[in-house]
């Protein structure tokens, strides 16, 4: 019995694919270690408070140090009352540092730099600062790009500070209540997206590129010259890839659970069904993509042309609802969006088959159709 199994071509094909996979350190790193590192890195970056340091250009020295001939400027009075520390920056420019404490949103440190208009414009263009302050006719003036959200935020913070009678507002007792409920953090949003993206990338490179490379090396042609069942070739390749994707996703979930306490709030069977259907969809795309070309450069281009837009648009890292309204229905039809949204709704919204059933059906059927079309177009040499 054991000998019969070990002599079977499907078993040997699966074994060969597994060995090829696990013996390639790059595959293990990029497939398993990298997504975990990325989720940990992004999770830490977006879940821990971080002090914000904002540089502000102040035109003229009289706003930072008192000039005997001048009357006191509004900015200088404000800085003096709040005990902003006078110092010189790395270039020797005069600066005053003021830290606004906030134990909920993180401290903000403003560095007010004394610059002339030309110097301020150079730093603005370089992106080193985003706002310039000045005084005219006894009023503080703010110069910034209204289309720049960072500049808007700096303006709002600064104008608020200067309007509160020269006293720094401490945010400790304000009404801001940071949300820490599981499912509402950035990491809760990120991990499902990374799981879906992992499946897509794994299928694109592990199935599509592997086929193109084997065709370019004439290995497909050599294999098809034997009585090998063609269906076994694809079955082995896709089975091994799905198994690998389970391992990848499982380890990523484990790391996220240990580090951030992520859990599955909805139906686990529904999540598994969605995961498998997503694998089918991307395997179908991968077979179709690799059905013809024997040039690895072309394969590389095709894979990037298909996966990069989805990575950017499908809401893996950030919500696609920031894109123009007209594009959202289109984006929602991408397989990566469908899979990421579905996993997210099961993991963080507590969804089950009722909510994601349609996605499972669409992903499975599209995978099957693409696979059949790919097989019809498939060239072995």
């Amino acid at each position: 019995m054991i000998e019969r199994i070990s002599n079977s071509q499907l078993f040997q094909l699966i074994l060969a694919n597994i060995k090829e996979l696990i013996r390639e350190p790059g595959v293990l790193f990029w497939g398993i270690v990298f997504p975990i590192l990325m989720s940990l890195g992004l999770g830490v970056a977006f879940t821990k408070k971080k002090d914000v340091i904002t540089q502000v250009a102040v035109i003229g020295e009289n706003h930072l140090v008192h000039q005997a001939a001048d009357s006191l400027s509004l900015i200088f009075t404000f800085l003096l009352q709040n005990k902003a520390i006078l110092e010189h920056d790395r270039e020797g420019k005069l600066a005053r540092k003021l830290t606004v404490p906030d134990d909920k949103l993180g401290n903000t440190t403003f560095i007010f730099k004394s610059l002339d208009w030309k110097e301020a414009m150079v730093l603005l263009k370089r992106g080193n600062l985003n706002i310039v302050m000045d005084e005219k006719g006894g009023a503080v003036q703010y110069h910034f790009d209204p289309m720049n959200p960072d500049a808007q935020l700096t303006y709002l913070k600064l104008s608020r500070l200067l309007n509160v009678a020269g006293t720094v507002v401490k945010a400790t007792n304000t009404e801001i209540s940071p949300l820490t409920v599981s499912g509402t953090r950035y990491i809760d949003f990120l991990v499902p997206g990374l799981i879906a993206m992992g499946v897509m990338m794994s299928c694109m490179w592990g199935v599509s590129y592997a086929i193109i490379e084997r065709r370019s090396k004439k290995l497909l042609r050599r294999m098809v010259a034997t009585p090998m069942k063609r269906s076994n070739f694809f079955l082995a390749l896709i089975t091994v890839r799905i198994l690998m994707n389970f391992v990848e996703a499982g380890l990523l979930f484990l790391a996220a659970w240990l580090a951030f306490g992520i859990t599955v709030q909805g139906s686990v069977p529904a999540l598994l069904a969605l995961f498998i259907s997503g694998n089918f969809a991307f395997a179908g795309i991968a077979i179709l993509l690799s059905s013809h070309t024997s040039k690895t450069e072309v394969g590389n281009g095709l894979i990037n042309a298909l996966s990069m837009p989805m990575m950017v648009l499908s809401g893996v890292f950030f919500s696609y609802h920031n894109f123009p309204e007209w594009s959202i229905p289109v984006i929602q039809k991408f397989p990566l969006t469908m899979m990421a949204d579905g996993i997210r709704s099961v993991m963080i919204e507590g969804a089950g088959f009722a909510e994601i059933g349609m996605s499972v059906v669409i992903l499975s059927v599209s995978g099957l159709v693409l696979f059949i079309v790919g097989m019809r177009l498939f060239r072995w040499h």
Partner: protein, 254 residues
């Protein structure tokens, strides 16, 4: 020819876009016969072998293998043919043994035959070596071993020693000589090395620009040179290259 026919090529034509690769070839190969298809690069050798192998369909003419055409007989014919292509790359991170086991499984053949083949191609010491770490000669011996794994009735070798150093080439020749002595396998070998054709094969087909220029035994072909208007200097051995040059004005390795 007294031996039974294993391959019969009847007036076969094949074109690719604007190139006529094969133009009306007729060829008959008997059981146990070692046949060299000799010609320069682009002569149509590989296309002819690909049509015999079933990868390409002739535009005109017919090919019979063991009396059967490829249509409807794929599985039977793939079981009796062994094949080695020019520059096949196997899976880099599989060992020699694992590669043999993989290909053996396609023929439902077990480990015992893999052991035999490993010995036959003298790769026992490289059993655990990954394919990526083999030399060019060792890789070609592995390709030959895979071609022999099913004890084929017909062995098709497409330029099996191209790019190999003289030692590695001789090792391949030794394996093929022992095959000739010990089995009834018919061999079709394409090459542009006349020495290879002379050393291994008992029947030689010289082709150029998709047509057969001459065919026969080595003795017959070399004998024909005496009748040609341009003769080589008498001080050196007459070769098939001299015959090719007399027929085309070019050398085989041009």
């Amino acid at each position: 020819m007294s031996t039974p026919t294993v391959i019969e090529v009847r007036n076969v034509f094949k074109s690719f876009k604007t190139v006529q690769a094969v133009r009306g070839i007729d060829l008959t190969i008997g059981a146990g016969q070692f046949v060299a298809i000799l010609g320069p690069n682009g002569a149509g050798k590989t296309t002819l072998v690909e049509m015999i192998e079933g990868i390409q369909q002739p535009d005109e003419g017919e090919i019979f293998i063991m009396g059967k055409t490829w249509k409807g007989n794929d599985n039977y014919l793939r079981n009796i043919i062994g094949l080695s292509l020019q520059e096949t790359h196997f899976i880099d991170k599989l060992s020699v043994w694992e590669t043999l086991r993989l290909f053996a499984s396609f023929f439902k053949i077990g480990a015992a035959r893999c052991e035999e083949v490993l010995k036959l191609v003298a790769l026992e010491e490289k059993r655990k070596a990954f394919v990526v770490n083999l030399s060019g000669g060792q890789r070609q011996r592995l390709a030959l071993g895979i071609a022999l794994i099913n004890k084929p009735k017909i062995l098709l070798l497409d330029e099996p020693t191209t790019g190999l150093d003289p030692n590695a080439r001789r090792e391949i020749w030794e394996i093929l000589r022992s095959l000739k002595d010990e089995t009834k396998t018919s061999l079709i070998l394409t090459t542009h090395y006349m020495e290879e054709a002379e050393q291994l094969c008992d029947y030689i087909v010289i082709i150029d620009q998709g047509k057969i220029l001459k065919q026969g035994t080595i003795t017959d072909l070399l004998g024909e040179i005496q009748d040609l208007p341009v003769k080589p200097a008498e001080t050196r051995k007459i070769t098939l290259d001299d015959l090719f040059t007399s027929l085309t004005g070019r050398h085989l390795n041009d």
